[in-house]
Symmetry: C2
Subunit: 231 residues, 2 copies
DNA sequence: TACAAAACAGAACGTACAACTTGTTTATTT
DNA sequence: AAATAAACAAGTTGTACGTTCTGTTTTGTA
């Protein structure tokens, strides 16, 4: 019989080691805009770290708050629901990724950047932030609320990425292939897959060899850019 | 204060719609071996379906049991812990995958199978069972118990796969590249990545185009197999 | 037929989690 | 300086989950 709910003990539920949030000593008042931005940034950074290291379901709000040295209350104030934090992560990562792409390409002699594209993509996608976004995407499959909030963010991101490559190609005097979108999607997928495998192998060298194969392949697919010289 | 555990209601916890397990009417006794195998097979099949559709954390033991039309008791008898079921899934999938590879290659004229390898790999890896295994691997990152149980299963699987390709190559009179392992890893990664993307796009055609690019690439990397003729 | 063991059924338990709630401190505005 | 609002802190609650437990039915064996 159990129509009456049993008295369930939760006596050990509050076992967090009483992390003391970093206490300020300075007397100068910090503007609210700064405080908010700082709290949010720390939460997003901590979330990326947890997601990339432990995966989505192990990334609980409590763990993120502790890692970020932010109280649960502050966290709830900035991101009322867990999904809000995850959306913030995706937004921040995409922004940072775009910046990183731009800087990487600018740092390379004009005609050679295409050959280095696989390495550039690897550097961006295999980062913890890349893994974090992948985890969030996977999790959104079983979380309608998260999926809905992500929909608006995700819209148009991949389109821009390929468009950007096309412009770069043209400014180098090269024509894109008719199936250029398929090639681009394939490269992203390949590097995502390699990054995934990297989560389970400490063998970095083997994966770097696969990225090198990608560089050879891109020279086959776009003969105009020439083969990479052996150093 | 809360040293005394609060009386927490769980009155709505057993809200499952009272799924009646399929009741037998036949009088002939079924051997235990058959009953066990049937229960296990149904649980594994249901787990694969849930994993591929909803992801790991949404694949709860209750959901799997209901989907499999198996009682929770029967489930616990066969697979005491959730991780045991997941290990069974991985074992079953790998076995089925190997069988599928063998059959696919045998169904193709000897010198052409290499050109079709991307399609063959796509057919195997992008199946629900392939997605399910990926989900389990990802989940094992934050579940030491699952990771430990998987370690013994996973050992030596990828090695066998590449070894198998090498043998096939040699029996066709072709020599593998010195970086053949990197190529193989790259192809698996690419198809995994494409399969992942397929979870979020209904655009099957676009992904098929990417697989077609893979076929072109493999002909570049192994010139001996010739280019695929346009039909 | 008797008895043991496997397979099954489902309720009960403890816990971890996200969300909610209440109270306190710090910054901004008037 | 007073009032208001933002930021923060932490305790509380409901619930979903994996596991464990107790009891029942079916199959195998002596």
């Amino acid at each position: 019989m159990s129509t009456k709910p049993a008295s369930v003990g939760r006596s050990t539920a509050r076992a967090l080691p009483s992390q003391t949030p970093a206490r300020r000593t300075s007397k100068k008042p910090r503007p609210q805009a700064v405080r908010s931005a700082d709290t949010r940034r720390r939460l997003v950074d901590a979330a990326v770290a947890c997601l990339s290291r432990y995966g989505y379901s192990a990334t609980t709000v409590s763990v993120v708050a502790r890692q970020a040295k932010v109280s649960r209350g502050a966290m709830t104030h900035q991101y009322p629901a867990k999904s809000d934090l995850m959306v913030a992560v995706v937004e921040a990562v995409y922004e940072a990724d775009g910046e990183q792409y731009r800087r990487s390409v600018e740092a390379i002699p004009s005609r050679e950047w295409m050959r280095e594209l696989p390495t550039i993509m690897w550097d961006v996608i295999s980062r913890p932030s890349g893994i974090a976004v992948m985890e969030i995407m996977l999790a959104s499959r079983s979380d309608r609320e998260l999926a809905d909030k992500l929909r608006s963010v995700q819209r148009g991101i991949d389109v821009h990425a390929h468009q950007w490559v096309i412009e770069r190609l043209e400014s180098a005097g090269l024509k894109d292939r008719p199936d250029g979108d398929a090639v681009h999607r394939l490269f992203v997928a390949a590097i995502r897959g390699l990054a995934l495998e990297g989560l389970f192998r400490r063998d970095k060298v083997g994966i770097e060899k696969s990225v090198a194969v990608l560089k050879e392949i891109i020279c086959h697919l776009y003969p105009g850019i020439g083969f990479p010289e052996k150093p």
